[in-house]
Each structure stands twice: as structure tokens, then as C-alpha cells.
């Protein structure tokens, strides 16, 4: 990190970069609410109220993660039996039917990714809030990973929607979506919003520059 220590940062040079179009502008102290001259988006040194917005969305996601896993996301009924599937039992069914590779994909996308995302975002928010200098490069990489994998948790939602549409043979066999699907979809959307609200530049801010954000 020593090689990067001397690199100038926009905030220290009195520059603002537009997150929408990438234009770099001079920060004029006279203007209270500056806008980008090219795309008219509001300019901020850091995303406004980044930490508190991100925390609020993250806590909501963590709370909904519980019903998302306890309530059934899918009900299968055939002539012989009727069954409520939660996310985990769906993975187990796939595993037992021999499709271990798909079971693994669904397990990772639906259970591991949301959980890791919540834990990783909490770590980022705590360490950025404390202006920690601990492993900044790794934390920056962790944030980019969270942004990248966020949408893959929607996998199970799409699977359920397709199964509901296809397995519709009235009395013989029918699949319906359960309330867990709503909770799970909310978790995915909320964690995506939480990671978008977080400003990764906070990872690199020292206490005196960060307090002005």
C-alpha cells in the first residue's frame, strides 16, 4: 500500500467527480448544492448519509432473511402427496434426486450468497464507520465482489416462477408459490440497495476528511 500512499485524492485537491457521468469538476465553495455541468446530476463529496442508509436497508434485509428461510417458497401438490418447500428443503430435494451440481448452485446462490452479503456489508459498514485502516485493499475488493454477486440471489425466484407456470395440470400436479418467495425477493432487493447506498470511498477516508462527508 506504500506505493499508493502518495496518490492524490479528489477530496484533498478540491475536486468533485460525478458518479453518473464521470466528469471531474472543481468544487466551488460558494455553491451549496452543486450539480454536474454535463449531466446535471447532483454532486456530492461522498454519497449522502451513506452509512445510515446502508445500515437501515441492511437491517431490514437481515430481519426478512428469517421468514425467507422459514416460510415455504413453493407448494407442490400431486394426486399422491402435497409438499411445502422452503429454500433449504428445495436444495435437499435436488441433492437427493442426484442433481448435486445444481443443488450446489442453488445452495450457493440462495443461502450462502445472501448470508455472506449481509455479513460482508456489516463488516464494511462497521470498519468504514470506525475509519479503520485494516486491510483496505481487501475491503475494497470485498465491496466489488458484493456488487457483482448481488443479483445472482434472484435465481430461486425465477425458478419458482417458471415451475408455477409449467406445473399446472389442475388436479394431477400443481405448483404454487408460497409467501417465503416474497420475503426472499425482498431480501435480495434490500441487500442490493444497501450495497448501492454504501460509498466505497469511505474505506479510504481518514477521520478528519471523513467527518465532513
Amino acid at each position: 500500500m506504500s506505493s499508493a500512499a502518495g496518490l492524490p485524492r479528489a477530496a484533498d485537491l478540491g475536486l468533485l467527480s460525478c458518479l453518473a457521468c464521470g466528469l471531474v469538476c472543481r468544487a466551488l465553495p460558494a455553491t451549496a448544492a452543486p450539480h454536474c455541468p454535463r449531466c446535471h446530476a447532483p454532486l456530492h463529496r461522498r454519497k449522502p448519509a451513506s452509512l445510515s442508509r446502508s445500515w437501515a436497508l441492511l437491517i431490514a434485509a437481515a430481519v426478512l432473511y428469517i421468514p425467507a428461510n422459514l416460510l415455504p417458497i413453493m407448494q407442490t401438490s400431486t394426486l399422491l402427496y402435497s409438499e411445502n418447500d422452503t429454500i433449504l428443503s428445495g436444495v435437499l430435494t435436488l441433492w437427493r434426486s442426484g442433481a448435486w451440481d445444481l443443488a450446489l448452485i442453488v445452495f450457493v446462490a440462495s443461502i450462502v450468497v445472501p448470508l455472506l452479503k449481509i455479513a460482508a456489508l456489516a463488516t464494511l459498514l462497521l470498519s468504514a464507520g470506525a475509519h479503520s485502516r485494516w486491510r483496505r485493499r481487501e475491503r475494497a475488493r470485498l465491496y466489488r465482489l458484493i456488487e457483482f454477486i448481488g443479483q445472482w440471489s434472484m435465481l430461486d425466484i425465477f425458478v419458482v416462477a417458471l415451475l408455477v407456470a409449467l406445473v399446472n395440470f389442475n388436479s394431477v400436479a400443481q405448483v404454487r408459490a408460497g409467501p417465503g418467495a416474497i420475503a426472499f425477493a425482498s431480501v435480495v432487493v434490500l441487500t442490493m440497495l444497501a450495497s448501492m447506498s454504501f460509498d466505497p470511498r469511505l474505506i479510504w477516508d481518514e477521520p478528519q476528511t471523513g467527518s465532513r462527508a
Binding site: M1, A10, L19, L94, Q151, M154, A161, L166
Partner: protein, 197 residues
Amino acid sequence: MPTLIVCEHCDTVYQRAPLQPGQRARCLRCAAPLYRADLAPPALLALTLAAAVVFLIANVFPIVSLDLQGSSSQSTLWGAIHAAWDSEVGPVAVLVALTAFFFPLLQILLLGAVLLALRRGGLRRSLLVDALHSLRFLRPWSMVEVFLLGALVAVVKMGALAAVQPRPGLYGFAALTLLLTALNSFDLHRLWECLDE
């Protein structure tokens, strides 16, 4: 100051340097990608038109069909959205409709309109600005590739229950995934710069 570039991930300021095709610039402080030598707008326009055609194919034809004791059913993406709506999980149906249908469609239409307008002029600048802002907003919420994987998982899941066959829509979505991935790796900041020229 168009010669400067600031890393979105850590606020480090750099002087822009020209890149060879295939090269990409990374931030020295946080290693995030800064910018890269991208496709030229005409190539992008060709990809966008291809994506529009493939989007049509993917959504007109059924994705999979299912045979169970003589009766059969098949579904398109829109059929899945409809079924989820009827299954009393309205919010889920809306989310699927937005992320797998409307957002990708809007992305293709807006990108096509912006590229055509940049080529020929004629569209008001304020409309272009709105379109580019919308494209930035849409990017993370457009999930065709996730839907494709979901369709594959659904095929295998039902394979245990009934005879499942992939239909042309599935191949359409596979092609759409490739095209949209290429389009989404394009740096939208480049189009903002074209707007200034």
C-alpha cells in the same frame, strides 16, 4: 476537466492515458477498474440491434415444455410472470417482470436510441441526458443471465417429475445473455464523452 479521471471506488485522481485495444486501466490504490479500450459505438450499435432481435425470439417462443401423463404444458417468460401473479405472490411477479423483461427491453431500446442519435443527431440533448441516466440506473437491475440459469435449474428440477424439453425460447435467452453481457461491460462514461464531442 476531461483529461482527469477519478476512481469511483477510492477517490484517487489520475491523468487519463490512451490505451491500446484490449488494455484496461486499474486504480493503483484500490485495484478497481478505471476505464478500458472499449468497442467503438458502431460495433455497439450492431450488438444492440442483434440483442433486439434475439429479445423478440426469446420472448415469443416458449422456453420449455413439459409432458405429464399425456397432457403437456409450455411456458414463455411472460407465462411465468402471469402464473406467479395468479399464485398470490404479486410482488414476486412484478419483480420478475421488471428484472427479466421490462428492464432488459428498456436497456436495449434506450441504448439503440442513444447510439442512433449520437450517430445522426436529431434527438434533443436533454432527452439523451435522461436516457443515459436511465441506462446507468437499469444496469444492476437487468437480470437476464440470472433468469437463464433459473430456467436451466427449473428444467432439471422438473426432469424428475415429467418429460421436459427445451424450446427455442431457451436458446434465445442464452444468446440474449451473451449479447447483454457484452453490452453491459461497456463503459457508459464513454457515451457521455461522445455527447460532448
